[in-house]
């Protein structure tokens, strides 16, 4: 059993310090994931809400080794719920400017605006694919859908992004 699984077991038994360690280990990754779905303004709040839900549900987690995937799922559910309540356009995603590299001559791409044009589930699929480099079956496990659905979401997301680029969202 690895170190994280031990922490998960202890946290499931009510050890708050162990859960705190797990939060520390997963915080950055989860905030980045949430940011792609709900935007910068709500990301940390959504992750915190998700982690509190995870704490309550943790005694029911049967496979400690699957904690990372499981907590991503819990947080994403919170994000999807919040995203449904957001005004169309998800302006808050634009709050994070893309770092501009002077040495990078390629045209600037407004990632926030492009992501905002996608439905929340497609944003999550794109994040897990591009940023975390997960396989379709891993993404399917997190989203609770079939791997073929993951491919469908990604295909539609790329199609929509292409449309957005074509109408001049890309600057």
């Amino acid at each position: 059993m690895n170190r994280e699984s031990e922490l998960v077991l202890r946290a499931g038994q009510g050890d708050q310090a162990a859960f705190g360690r797990l939060v520390e280990q997963h915080w950055v990754r989860l905030v980045r994931l949430a940011r792609s779905v709900v935007g910068e303004m709500e990301a940390e709040d959504a992750v915190q809400d998700g982690l509190l839900r995870a704490w309550r549900k943790l005694p029911g987690l049967r496979e400690p080794a699957a904690f990372s995937q499981w907590v991503s799922r819990v947080v994403l559910r919170v994000c999807f719920r919040r995203a449904r309540g957001q005004v169309a356009g998800l302006v808050s995603l634009e709050a994070v400017p893309e770092p501009i590299s002077r040495s990078n001559p390629e045209p600037r791409i407004d990632v926030g605006r492009l992501l905002a044009s996608l439905p929340p589930r497609q944003r999550a699929v794109m994040h897990l694919t591009v940023v975390e480099g997960m396989t379709d079956s891993e993404i399917a496990g997190i989203l609770g859908i079939a791997a073929s659905s993951v491919r469908g979401h990604r295909r539609r997301a790329r199609g929509r992004l292409e449309q957005q680029v074509a109408v001049g969202v890309e600057s």
Partner: protein
């Protein structure tokens, strides 16, 4: 999306996502942990309430089902009044049923029968 555009978008997406959270992990952990006791306590309380409500509902269902199934034979099983064999009525007798098993016979007679003329 062309391969070139897709690659440039995905590179930009990765750079965009690398932006670190405003709250450092240790502070975030402290903040989350400070809320754990209260939340799980509420959760347990809510959970026990739900379990109590479910048990009460199940008990009520058992009582109702038991009451319905253990009822004595329904009145429909009792022979209808038309099936009860009654003696033929005389012309001045009226029969009223107080319920399905209780007949009431009334004899109709003229008031003069008392013979009280004075």
């Amino acid at each position: 999306m062309s391969e070139e555009r897709r690659d440039s978008f995905e590179q930009a997406f990765k750079r965009w996502a690398e932006h670190p959270p405003e709250t450092p992990p240790d502070q975030a952990a402290a903040r989350v942990v400070s809320q754990l006791t209260e939340r799980r306590g509420i959760s347990l309380l809510a959970g026990s309430r739900v379990r109590f409500a479910a048990a009460a509902a199940a008990l009520t269902l058992v009582v109702v089902v038991g009451w319905v199934t253990l009822q004595p034979e329904s009145p429909a099983a009792i022979p209808a009044t038309s099936e009860v064999v009654l003696p033929p009525l005389e012309e001045n007798v009226v029969l009223l049923w107080l319920d399905q098993q209780t007949p009431l016979y009334l004899t109709v007679a003229p008031p003069a029968a008392k013979g009280g003329s004075s």
